[in-house]
């Protein structure tokens, strides 16, 4: 007999494979043709549509929805990819409830927006599943560009540059391209190896070489890249994680949420993923929610997500919070970690109640925990980078850094919202600026 949710400690196989498969299935299954027609029929084809303005990549939403409604989802996909080459992943991971769907006029009218995200997925899946790449590369310009980081920002930049005829080399420290699409996004948002399939599909444009296992600062240097290439784009994301800064943080069972998620995303067999019986996740953003939900889905008996300020200050959207609650995650707010307690391994964790300004109320509470995940933010890592501001690489609207010939975008750069879609937009815009500069 294998383990159950009640088994003590950090254990694998709390649930059987049938339950695990069901738990990690598609969060929002793809629309079938009928559902897509009905959903697309609701769009009013608004003038200067608010949804389009709310999309960080400016996808022509009314047009693509109309193209679905008139039976040409492939044309719809092209409309999406014109603006956002990772429109497939964005359809799955965008917090649409705070972007396009929040401002849809039918949200205003009926509290029920057009389901833009799911329609986007319906359209983009048609082309990606068929392996059809809708763009052709311009004639070669002979220019060479280095892209560091194969996450959404780097991939988006690389694609746009390749399309303009430049030769692009993408370097990534990891063994696999995709960035957080591959290693971070919750498993139930990107099922059936979509991240990997999307990268393969994107690379069909040609002119892009991906070199994995190549790390800036370890073998690769900015000076070297500058010398060998006509331009450099940095899309290295946020590699480091913030520490709690409390006693006992180094005890066994206290882990980084992003590492747990990355391991889970790469697991061949979810039955081998060990998880605690009583799991506490510290943080209030998307990473915290994803870690908590996936811990629960793996079969943890009790999962608490603890955030130091009030619910309305959480970075995770209301939709994400509700998702966590619906999966059985207990959300505790206004509690800051004080100490990790245990003998070698964590047994309990102590919090003190704090108000929204983090002022202590003097009251404390202890939660039982055999596993604690830290999800209190990521930080930029690396030496000798261009000038920083607020801990990120300082860029202007076109992604130019303080160093001539070096651009940056995505999570590592100032300006974005730390979302996949903003990374895509920034990568694309920097690529256009690089192209304009090199063509001048």
């Amino acid at each position: 007999m294998s383990n159950t949710p009640f088994s003590n400690g950090i254990q694998a196989a709390r649930l059987d494979s049938v339950e695990l498969t069901e738990n990690f299935g598609d969060l929002h299954p793809r629309f079938d043709d009928h559902e897509a027609l009905v959903a697309s029929d609701r769009c009013y084809f608004c003038h200067d549509a608010p949804c389009m303005t709310a999309c960080p990549t400016d996808i022509d939403i009314p047009l693509f929805i109309r193209q679905i409604a008139t039976g040409t989802p492939e044309a719809a996909a092209k409309t999406i990819f014109d603006q956002n080459i990772l429109g497939g992943m964005c359809a799955r991971v965008c917090p649409t409830e705070t972007l396009c769907e929040q401002v849809c006029v039918r949200e205003t009218a009926e509290g029920n927006p057009v389901e833009i995200g799911r329609l986007q997925r319906y359209a983009t899946d048609k082309l990606v599943d068929a392996g059809q790449h809708p763009f052709e590369r311009a004639a070669s310009t002979g220019k060479k560009i280095a892209v560091v980081g194969a996450g959404p920002a780097g991939l988006s930049a690389a694609h746009r540059l390749a399309m303009h005829g430049h030769d692009v080399t993408v370097f990534d420290a990891r063994a696999k391209a995709g960035g957080l699409n591959e290693f971070g996004i919750a498993a139930y948002k990107s099922v059936e190896s979509f991240a990997e399939r999307e990268v393969d599909w994107l690379l069909k444009i040609g002119g892009i070489t991906v070199e994995t296992g190549k790390k800036l600062g370890d073998g690769l240097s900015l000076d070297g890249l500058k010398a060998d290439f006509d331009a450099v784009f940095l899309g290295i994301g946020l590699g480091g994680v913030n520490a709690l800064g409390v006693d006992g943080e180094d005890k066994d069972g206290v882990d980084d949420a992003v590492d747990f998620i990355a391991e889970l995303r790469q697991a061949d067999d979810l039955g081998k993923m060990a998880i605690g019986r009583d799991v506490v996740v510290i943080g209030g953003g998307m990473t915290a929610v994803d870690a908590a939900v996936q811990a629960k889905l793996l079969g943890a008996l009790n999962v608490s997500l603890v955030y130091r300020r009030g619910k309305d200050r959480m970075n995770a959207s209301e939709f994400e919070q509700d998702l966590a609650a619906s999966k059985g995650v207990r959300i505790i707010t206004n509690a800051s970690p004080k100490a990790v307690i245990g003998n070698g391994a964590v047994r309990e964790i102590e919090f003190e109640y704090t108000d929204n300004d983090l002022k202590s109320t003097g009251q404390t509470v202890r939660l039982q925990a055999d596993q604690v995940f830290k999800a209190i933010g990521q930080t930029l890592e690396g030496e000798g980078l261009p000038e920083l501001e607020w801990g990120k690489i300082k860029v202007d609207d076109s992604g130019r850094t303080s160093v001539d010939g070096i651009w940056a975008g995505g999570d590592c750069a100032t300006g974005g919202d730390d979302l996949t879609v903003t990374a895509v937009a920034e990568g694309r815009d920097a690529a256009e600026d690089i192209h304009a500069k090199l063509s001048a």
């Binding site: 043709d33 009928h34 084809f45 193209q67 008139t70 040409t72 492939e74 044309a75």
Partner: protein
């Protein structure tokens, strides 16, 4: 990528989508923005004679029929021709044509039925550099009361006469725009051809009253307590327009007469359907008035995707391809037998097919206790009503019976050969050699 470039009676445009003569084409500002949005050509809002322009009502001009969710299905208007001075329109047309030499600019014209009126105005308009003329014999309200518009379009002799005058007055192509407010569209089309017209365009709007205000007891749109019939257009008129286009395209006398298809065109598919039935290009009014100029982008992407999928390289490859398949009822194959089939995986058990068939047709659908709906092959006459009322697309389809297969309704095996009414035993006029 399919090439959408279009040539209609020698007039070139980047695509076959023209804006029909109506408010969208009433001024330079509109037309420039329309071209920027992607329209291939415009037929300028109908011009009248020099002198003081016509006036429009100052109350509401439009009425509408809505479908579910307030989707506009039909629009009715009581507008007249352009109410701006001729000189202003001509200056603007000249400027637009100069700046958009590759786009089509057609002048729509309506002047009183007098030879010198037509012969004087056409050369004057031609100086704008426009690519051709469209004679508006269609407008069913207002102008008709003054002996113009559909008052001319309903009399074939007038059409022929005016078309001839115009051909004598200009070397540019002359398109005659037909009114659907007649009993047989072939008469005006043939008259246009006799008069030397290069093409016909159709349809203009249909006489209509869209609704009645039951408090004021007046038709809408209501102007100070009274209403008048207006011209109906939009998606609702497409079937009427398609039939008229097909009639002209398949009539031996007019088969070679180029047709510009108009009436309810809203999507790429509507346009493709008009063209398949013989229209060389299409014109659009209501769809633009409902959704704005941007709507053409879907028409362009959809048509080119479909052409790519079918392997058509230019629009000429498929124009008229469906025309030979438009026939008379008497030539339809009576030995072709189909039966409705319900796909149980798609069925949502709403029972609409049952209500329709049980109450109003042939009692050919069975409903089980647990709401499973199945077709009774021995009752189904293949009328298609269930297919049309089912809310799930393709849930009910028509299966064609193979030759030799038993038709359970008639208890006869399906015959392999073609057999129509002309040779049917029940036909007293049967021509079958017995």
């Amino acid at each position: 990528m399919a090439n959408l470039e279009s040539e209609f009676v020698g007039i070139k445009s980047p695509n076959p989508f023209w804006l029909a003569s109506a408010p969208p084409t009433d001024k330079e500002y509109n037309v420039r923005r329309a071209f920027e949005a992607g329209w291939g050509g415009v037929v300028w809002k109908t011009l009248g004679s020099e002198g003081p322009p016509v006036v429009n009502v100052n109350g509401p001009r439009y009425g509408a029929i809505h479908g579910a969710d307030r989707r506009l299905l039909g629009l009715n208007n009581i507008e007249l021709i352009t109410d701006r001075p001729l000189e202003v329109n001509l200056e603007e047309m000249a400027r637009v044509k100069r700046d958009y030499p590759d786009h089509a600019v057609i002048a729509s014209v309506m002047v009183p039925c007098e030879e010198d009126e037509w012969k004087r105005i056409l050369p004057m308009i031609a100086e704008t550099g426009c690519d051709g003329f469209e004679l508006n014999f269609g407008c069913p309200h207002g102008m008709a009361e003054r002996g113009m518009g559909s008052a001319v379009g309903q009399v074939p002799e007038y059409i022929e006469m005016v078309a001839r005058w115009c051909k004598e007055a200009t070397d540019l192509p002359v398109i005659v725009k037909l009114t659907p407010n007649i009993t047989n569209i072939l008469h005006p089309a043939e008259a246009a051809l006799r008069g030397g017209a290069d093409a016909v365009s159709l349809i203009n709007t249909i006489n209509s009253i869209t609704n009645v205000n039951l408090d004021a007891m007046s038709p809408e749109p209501m102007i100070d307590g009274k209403g008048t019939h207006g011209g109906y257009c939009g998606p609702a008129v497409k079937p009427i327009a398609l039939n008229m286009v097909a009639e002209i395209a398949r009539n031996p006398e007019t088969a070679k007469l180029p047709i510009s298809g108009i009436g309810g065109i809203t999507t790429w598919r509507d346009a493709a359907e008009f063209m398949a039935l013989g229209a060389g290009n299409v014109q659009v009014c209501t769809a633009a008035m409902t959704y704005g100029f941007k709507i053409v982008q879907e028409m362009i992407s959809g048509l080119s995707q479909w052409m790519d999928e079918k392997g058509y390289e230019s629009t000429a490859d498929f124009v008229g391809m469906a025309t030979p398949n438009v026939t008379d009822w008497q030539y339809l194959n009576l030995n072709h037998v189909t039966k409705a089939v319900i796909n149980q995986d798609d069925c949502i058990s709403c029972g609409r097919c049952y209500a329709a068939c049980e109450d109003t047709s042939h009692q050919a659908i069975e409903m089980s206790e647990d709401r499973v709906f199945t077709v009774k092959d021995d009752e189904c006459v293949a009328c298609n009503l269930c297919v049309n009322v089912c809310p799930v697309e393709n849930c009910i389809t028509m299966r064609t019976l193979e030759p030799g297969e038993m038709d359970e309704r008639t208890n006869t095996p399906v015959q392999a050969d073609y057999g129509n009414w002309t040779a049917h035993p029940n036909n007293p006029m049967s021509t079958a050699a017995e």
